[in-house]
Amino acid sequence: MAWQYIGEAMGVALQPYNLLVLVLSTGVGLVMGILPGLSATMAIALLTGITFNFPTQSALISLIGVYVGAISGGCQAAILLNIPGTPASAATALDGFPLARRGEGGLAIFIATSASCLGTLLSVIFVLTLTPLLTAFALKFASWEFFLLSIFGILICGTLTAQGNAIKGWISGVLGLLVAQVGLDSVDTVARFTYGNVNLMATIQLIPVMIGLFGFPEIVKAFKVSGSEEVMSLSKFEMTKGLCLVGRHILAVIRSAFIGVGVGIIPGVGEDVGGWLSYWASKARSKLPESFGTGNPLGIISAETGNNACIGGAIIPIMSLAVPGSAPAAVLLAAFFMHGYRPGPLLLTESPGFVYSISVYLVLASIAMWALALLVAKGTVRILRVNKKILMPIIFMLCVIGSYLINYNMFDVKVMFVFGLVGLAMTAVKVPAAPFLLGVILGPMADSNLRRALRLYDGSFATMFQRPICVFFLIVIACMILSQMGVFRRLRKKKAPEAA
C-alpha cells in the first residue's frame, strides 16, 4: 500500500506543471534564503497566500520546495558574506566564511549544499517511520492531554528560543494565546475581545500575523543607515574533493541528522537550534576541537545536515499532533489546513497518502535544491550585492498581497501591519516571536480542550491527575518551570557544602 501511495505521489510530482512548480518554488526559496533578512518563515507565509488558488498538490509541492530551498539557501550568504541568509545557517558561517577567505568558497558551498541535501533526505526516513508511531500514540490523547500538550509546546518553545531568559519566551507564548482568544469562541460562539467589529468576530487570521511578525521587522531593519558588507568571490566547486569530504564524515552526517530530527520534533524549536546543536556535537567529539571556527569542513557539514534534518523533524508533529515543530513548519500547518487537510491524529485515517506525498515532495525538493543551489551559486555574489533598500519596498508590496489573498479582505492587510509593529517591538526588547506564533496556532486547541474536559468532568481538575500521559506532561512542565527559576541549581548548591 505504501509503495502505491509513493508511486501516486511520484506520478503527481513528475507531471510537467508540478515539476515546473517544484523547480520554481525551490529556486525562489533558495534566493530568499540567500538574501539575509528574508527568512524561510516569511518565504512560506508569502507563498501560502500566493498559492491559495493553486491545485492542492501543486500548492503543497511549492510550499515544500520553498521550505527546503530557503533553509538550504541560507548557507551561501553565511559562507560568502559571513552573514547567515536565514538564522538556520548561523553555525555554518563559523567555518564557512574562513574557508571562503582561504579561497575555497566554492568547495564550502558544495559541501554545505550536499550536506543540506543529505540532511533532508535522511529526515524523510524519520518522517515515514516516526509519523505513524507518533500518530498511534496521539490516538490515546483526549481533551486533557491535548490541552497539556499545547501548554507544553508553548513552554518548551519559549524556554529554548528566549536565549537565557525563559520568562520572555513564556510571555511571548501567553500573548499569542491571548491573540487566539479574539473572535467568537469555538464552543459557545460567545464574542471575546471583538468590540463589536465583524472582522474580529471571524478571529484573527494566522497568515497576516505571521507575515507581520516575521517579515515586517526585517523590512524595517533595512531602512537603517548602515554600510555595505564585503562579499567573498566564488572559487571552483571541487566536486570530487567535496564528495570525498562528505563521504569521510558520513558518521557526522548521520549523527547530525538524528539531532536535527530530534530538535525538529520539539514544538516551535527551529532549524537554527538544530544547526547549532549538531555543530556543537561534532566539535565536542572532534580530536581537533580548536580547528572549528577556522574553516573546518566538518563544522559546515554538521551544521547544514542538522538544520536541514529539522525540516523533516518539524513536519512529523504537524502530521501526527497538529503541533508545528518550528516557525516555518507553523506556516506549513496553516497552509495544510487552508488546502483542506486536517493534520492531527486522524490524518493518517482520513488522508492515508498524505505522509507519503509529503515525503516524496521532500525528496524531490532536496534533489532539486542540490542542483539549483550549485547553479544559483554562480550568481549568488550578484544576488548578495542587490541593494536591500530597493528590494524591501517590493517585498512589502508582496506582504500586502500575501495577506490580502487569504480572504480577499483589506482587514487582514491592516492586521499584518499591526502585528508587524508588534513584531518590531518584540525585536527591540529581545522577545522571541516563535512562541507568540505557536500561541496563536495552539490557542484554539488549548481553550476548547480545557473547557471540553471541564465540561465532561463537572468542572473538576482532579481527573487530569488520574491520567498517565497527563501526569507525564505535568511533571515535565513543572520541571521545566522549576529549572528556569533556578530551583535545581540552588538545591545543588545547597547539597555541595553539605557533602564537603
Binding site: 482568544q181 543607515v225 500586502v400 529581545k430 471541564l454
Partner: protein
C-alpha cells in the same frame, strides 16, 4: 539605545497593565456568557475562563520580569525611580538617532500605503506611489533608476498575480 534592563522594566510594566486588562475583559466575557441567550453560569465552562487564566499568568510573568529588571547588576539602573529617570533621559536621544528616524519614517510611509493609498486608489496607482516614494526616501539610486524600478516592480507584480495567477488584487 536604552539599556536592556531599562527596556525590560518598561516592557514588563506595560505587560502588567495588559494582563490586568485581559483579566478584566475575561470577567466581562464571563458576565456576558452568564446572561441570556447563552446562560453559561459555571465559571469552569465559561468562555471567559481561559482569557482570565491567561491574564493572570501574564501579570505573574510580567511581575517576575519587572522584579528581574530591578535586581542590581553591573551598569544597570535599579529602583523604579531610576528606571524612569533613565527612560526620560533616553527619550530625547530618540530624535537624534538617524537609524530610528529612518525606520520611523519608513514605517509611516508603509502605514500610509496600507491605511490610505490602497483603500482609496486603484492598486496599481497606490503601489506605484508607494514604491516610488519609498525608493526616493531611501535614496536607493538616481531618479531615473528609481522610476524604472518602480514601474518594473509594480508591472511585474500585476502581471504575475492578475494575469498568471488570475487573482483579484485590492
Amino acid at each position: 539605545m536604552l539599556p536592556p534592563r531599562n527596556r525590560d522594566f518598561v516592557f514588563s510594566a506595560a505587560l502588567v497593565a495588559l494582563g490586568v486588562y485581559a483579566t478584566c475583559e475575561g470577567f466581562a466575557v464571563y458576565e456576558r456568557a452568564a446572561a441570556p441567550p447563552f446562560k453559561i453560569e459555571a465559571m469552569s465552562v465559561s468562555p471567559g475562563l481561559f482569557p482570565i487564566i491567561l491574564g493572570i499568568v501574564l501579570v505573574i510573568l510580567s511581575v517576575l520580569l519587572l522584579i528581574k529588571s530591578l535586581i542590581p547588576e553591573e551598569g544597570g539602573s535599579l529602583a523604579p525611580g531610576e528606571q524612569l529617570a533613565a527612560l526620560a533621559a533616553w527619550l530625547p536621544t530618540l530624535f537624534r538617532n538617524r537609524d530610528l528616524i529612518n525606520m520611523g519614517i519608513g514605517v509611516a510611509i508603509m502605514g500610509v500605503y496600507v491605511f490610505g493609498l490602497v483603500k482609496n486608489l486603484p492598486y496599481w496607482a497606490a503601489s506605484l506611489i508607494f514604491v516610488l516614494g519609498m525608493l526616493l526616501f531611501l535614496r536607493a539610486g538616481p531618479w531615473w533608476k528609481v522610476i524604472v524600478i518602480s514601474l518594473a516592480s509594480v508591472g511585474g507584480v500585476l502581471l504575475l498575480f492578475q494575469v498568471v495567477f488570475r487573482a483579484a488584487l485590492p
